[in-house]
Amino acid sequence: MKLLAIETSCDETAAAVLEDGKKVLSSVVASQNEFHKKYGGIVPEVASRKHIEAINPVIAEALEKAGKKFKDLDAVAVTYGPGLVGSLLVGLCAAKALAWSLKKPLIGVNHLEGHIYSNFLYPLSSLPLNKGEMSRANLSRVPSREPRDRGGISFPFICLIVSGGHTLLVLMKDHGKYETLGRTRDDAVGEAYDKVARFLNLGYPGGPIIDELAKKGDPHAITFKKPMIEESFGYDFSFSGIKTAVTRLSGVKIEDLAASFQQTVVETLIDKLIRAAFDKGIGRVALAGGVSANSALRQQLKERGEKDGLEVMLPPLEYSTDNAAMIACAAYYKFKKKQFAALDLKPIASLKI
């Protein structure tokens, strides 16, 4: 069973071919980062135009890398929200046109749901090489290992989704069954990183820059209050206050500032995730979304999980940020249940999970 998935919800144009819900035959991501850098973030008009330029070449490359043709596909999946409407539309139009002309079912996927499913994908480096592929040296940052059962797909578990546009805590009970436990009341965590980086004139995107800088600083140099850590706030988050606190400091070593800011954010995220797991009596937790690539967040969650006896799932790094393989994975389970979308599927900017 082969699925082509398309993802254009924000500033990455992505397409992937997935076999039997597990094997990523190809995953192509064209990033617009360079274009948005000078604006310190995404500009919707620019994003839509770049998607239009990239969409056909990206789909063609995904098929070519997978060694497949359009006629080999069993279904076409696409992200229909949440995201920028103009960006989503480009992917939707391409997917609908393909599904219609190939007479194959169209599957609509929630972008956030896709992020959760990134936990079920194998790292590319662990898969056997495709025909004609010599090596995957370019993916050397991912340790090479045999495909193993990533704990299988079993439920329930609690997933923390963290990215530039989202911060939410979701209880996943089964395929397609979610309960939102908490979310940010103001800024998304990735946004707080971007704003702090911008304030310190460090560039965009803020996440990787601050993560790198933090490695050279003292995470306990400055004590920030963990935002909304009191139990009365439930599982909701707030990252606006700490951003303000950072902007009010002066005469501090920038590495220490980055490390202390990151430490407070990471601890706050992990504290809430672990507390939710204990409160709900659930032994498995997962990370997803662009900020799940953050080295401190990954490392410290792993350590806390070991200490507290929780199983921790981390998505392979190459599927942490926006990609279409995760959309294909979520779509596979909808395909099995024949949950198909009509050809008038519309983009929904603020689609909830």
């Binding site: 310190g40 500009v43 979310r183």
Partner: protein, 137 residues
């Protein structure tokens, strides 16, 4: 006139008051430094308008839309410094919709900001204290 608030809670309360008196088509132009409390004030305004959803920062996607007793459009121009980019964003379309438009970092619009816009300036006095200037009162 200038109002003073001594906490985020008081800023929200002031916003709530403003929000309950807004009429269709009104535009509020907010300015104030990063961390001044623009989003906090807007959360109050939204509450006064009967918006039930959390009002989160639209910095990433630039525009958030909500529904209260009137449609509510929350725009954040923090990242945009180039007036041409702001023009391309199509903000002027939101002025025609008979809802409430609130713009953070409105000073970046320059002459694109309609004259009818009500101005709000937030000034940081100390950690908790803010001076909030309302152009129309």
């Amino acid at each position: 006139m200038v109002k003073e608030t001594n906490s985020a809670r008081e800023t929200i309360k002031l916003g709530k008051n403003l929000g309950s008196n807004l009429k269709p088509g009104e535009i509020l132009a907010l300015s104030g430094q990063l961390g001044a409390g623009k989003t906090t004030l807007i959360q109050g305004i939204a509450e006064g308008l009967g918006v039930k959803d959390y009002v989160t920062s639209p910095t990433f996607i630039l525009i958030n839309e909500y529904q209260g007793r009137l449609p509510f459009y929350h725009i954040d121009l923090y990242r945009l410094e180039d007036p041409e980019q702001i023009e391309e964003l199509g903000i002027s379309e939101y002025f025609e919709k008979d809802g409430i438009v609130v713009i953070e970092w409105a000073e970046r619009m320059g002459e694109q900001l309609p004259e009818s816009a009500k101005q709000i300036k937030i000034e940081v006095v100390d950690e908790n204290k803010r001076k909030i200037w309302l152009s129309w009162e």
